[in-house]
């Protein structure tokens, strides 16, 4: 065991985590501040939480975002898992490089680029075929799925690569057709990765500002869009409250997921 400098380690970790968590702590702390300013503490208050739950615009935006995120995560997981499986198990086929390229593109190109491209296509489609007649849930969903499936594909493909090939071969040997093997052997064995990919897609969709800006229409304001338009003008304490709720929920989910994973590994 190589002993690394204790104090150096402590300093690095303290500063690093401090940097990561100072904003988070501030958000949560000042969501209970009676004053709308993030500077001085005037007293403990729940008022921003109250006004948050009375804010119709925010609530309906949140509801819209949740629905879109659910639809996105499910579709992106299905298509992305399919793509990931193809990359991991189908060997080299004609057009393999193009496949990989198209799948990696959403990961690295700026979201603005994707947003513009998709909007232009929907406009052109609407012009030529009359459909889609306007932007809404469908267009946002398409944009989100295209973005998220790339992430899902990366996660799933790397998990399948790590999967012992002989398990799938054994199933084939015992008489299962390739389709049967996928559903009864491969999928159950990558289930944790599927869950992680689903959550990743869900989070990305829930948090997206750029693509939703391009692909949403009047009356279809997502939560991030609503938040973004408000905070451009400055600090809004209801947003602090929203952020705190978010952080707590995510924190609980992360801890629970971690517990489940640890318990599975110890079996």
């Amino acid at each position: 065991m190589i002993q690394s400098s204790r104090s150096l380690r402590a300093a690095v970790l303290f500063l690093g985590y401090g940097f990561l968590y100072v904003p988070i702590v501030c958000l949560m702390a000042f969501s209970f501040n009676d004053s709308p300013m993030m500077t001085s503490w005037t007293g403990f208050s729940w008022r921003w939480y109250h006004s948050l739950f009375n804010d119709q615009a925010l609530l309906s935006a949140a509801w819209l975002s949740l629905r879109i995120a659910l639809l996105t995560a499910t579709a992106a997981t299905i298509i992305g898992t399919w793509a990931g499986y193809v990359l991991a198990r189908m060997g080299r086929f004609r057009g393999f490089a193009l496949y990989v390229g198209m799948l990696s593109a959403p990961l690295v190109i700026p979201e603005v680029v994707l947003g513009i491209a998709l909007l232009l296509m929907f406009v052109e489609l609407g012009d030529l075929f009359g459909w889609p007649s306007g932007n809404g849930i469908f267009t946002i969903w398409v944009g989100h799925v295209t973005l998220c499936m790339a992430y899902v594909a990366v996660v799933i493909q790397s998990r399948i690569r790590d999967l012992d090939r002989s398990l799938e071969e054994a199933a084939l040997d015992l008489g299962a057709t390739p389709l049967k093997v996928f559903f009864s052997i491969t999928l159950p064995l990558i289930a944790p990765a599927l869950a992680a990919a689903w959550l990743l897609a869900f989070t990305l969709s829930l948090d997206d500002v750029v693509i939703a800006s391009f692909l949403s229409g009047p009356g279809y304001t997502t939560l991030p869009l609503e938040v973004f338009s408000r905070v451009r003008l400055g600090v809004k304490p209801e947003i602090n409250a929203l952020a705190s709720i978010f952080i707590v929920v995510v924190g609980i989910c992360v801890l629970v997921a971690n517990r489940i994973q640890r318990r599975k590994e110890s079996i």
């Binding site: 690093g16 904003p23 958000l27 086929f93 496949y99 990696s104 690295v108 979201e111 905070v231 947003i239």
Partner: protein
């Protein structure tokens, strides 16, 4: 007999298994980009859609015209070139900072004892999963002239009047590094944690001092993780929109903002398309590098499994 010969043309089971995700990508990725390319050669017009079509049939003749106004403007107007260079510069500095902060963190997390390691990793993952928008928003409150940072500094007596950080490049840097730090730490951590510690022990055994061991063994071996993390920070940062918009000043020039402005504020769709095309072209080099490493990884994975 004829049924047999026709069957040759039916897609094989294997093709059916490969194609469907391809169809989605082709429809919603490839096609839109081809469209962007086409529109970049169009001209502005009022109405919906606010651009002309390239092909026109009049008097039984088909004329296809390519308007080069947009590209001409792109390459002559120094604004675009300056914006692109600035974007690359900011992305590079961000990547560097993420590396300087992220590498030591990833290193110490990877070298911690398993129980601690799990907790430390969770502490990195939590911000990663929390809404980026909301976390960056927090910095608005902290960095404003009447915000937390200035308040604390003045209260401590370190400064007399507020330091202007909000709406400057510095705020954007802070926001970018903050947002992308987990993206650097996580792939690097994955690499460091899999590193064979016996190599380090062997070096130690042969008499090398800790810093030597780090520079000659750990650092080179961790390069794939560093490169992966750097790519995941650099490439998206070049085209970032949200963070520069929220924290940056009017003259914080970044490509994402320029594209957005052309589209929404100027309603110049051909222009926005042209900027997009050039943007993708310029990103093509790191993109190809990224794809090459992905494909190589897949190949190595297959060889390893064979």
């Amino acid at each position: 007999m004829s049924r047999q010969s026709l069957a040759r043309f039916a897609p094989s089971r294997r093709t059916l298994a490969i194609v469907p995700p391809f169809v989605w990508l082709g429809l919603f990725l490839l096609l839109p980009f081809l469209l962007v390319l086409k529109i970049s050669f169009a001209d502005l017009k009022f109405g919906i859609p606010p651009y002309t079509s390239l092909a026109e049939i009049k008097d039984q003749t088909l004329t296809i015209g390519l308007h080069l106004r947009t590209y001409a403007l792109l390459f002559t107007d120094s604004l675009y070139i300056a914006t692109y260079l600035n974007s690359v510069k900011m992305a590079a500095i961000t990547t560097l900072c993420c590396g300087l902060i992220g590498y030591p963190m990833a290193y110490y997390i990877a070298r911690s004892r398993p129980a601690q390691r799990n907790l430390l990793l969770l502490a990195v993952i939590l911000p990663f999963w929390t809404s980026l928008l909301l976390r960056v928003y927090a910095w608005v409150g902290i960095l404003r002239n009447d915000g937390l940072l200035n308040h604390v500094l003045m209260w401590l007596g370190l400064i007399g009047s507020p330091v202007e950080i909000y709406r400057t490049d510095l705020a954007v840097y802070i926001g970018l590094v903050y947002a992308y730090l987990p993206f650097f730490i996580l792939p690097l951590y994955a690499n460091l944690v899999k590193m064979d510690l016996r190599l380090l022990e062997a070096a130690h055994d042969l008499g090398a001092r800790p810093w030597r061991v780090f520079f000659s063994i750990t650092l080179p071996l961790s390069m794939p993780g560093v490169v992966a993390g750097a790519m995941l920070v650099f490439i998206p940062t070049v085209g970032e929109y949200v963070i520069p918009e929220m924290l940056g000043g009017a003259n914080t020039l970044m490509m994402g903002r320029v594209m957005w402005n052309e589209f929404f504020n100027n309603a110049d769709w051909p222009m926005a398309s042209a900027v997009t095309c050039v943007m993708v072209l310029l990103l093509l080099i790191p993109l190809v590098l990224f794809q090459y490493s992905q494909v190589r990884q897949l190949d190595d994975g297959r060889k390893g499994a064979a």
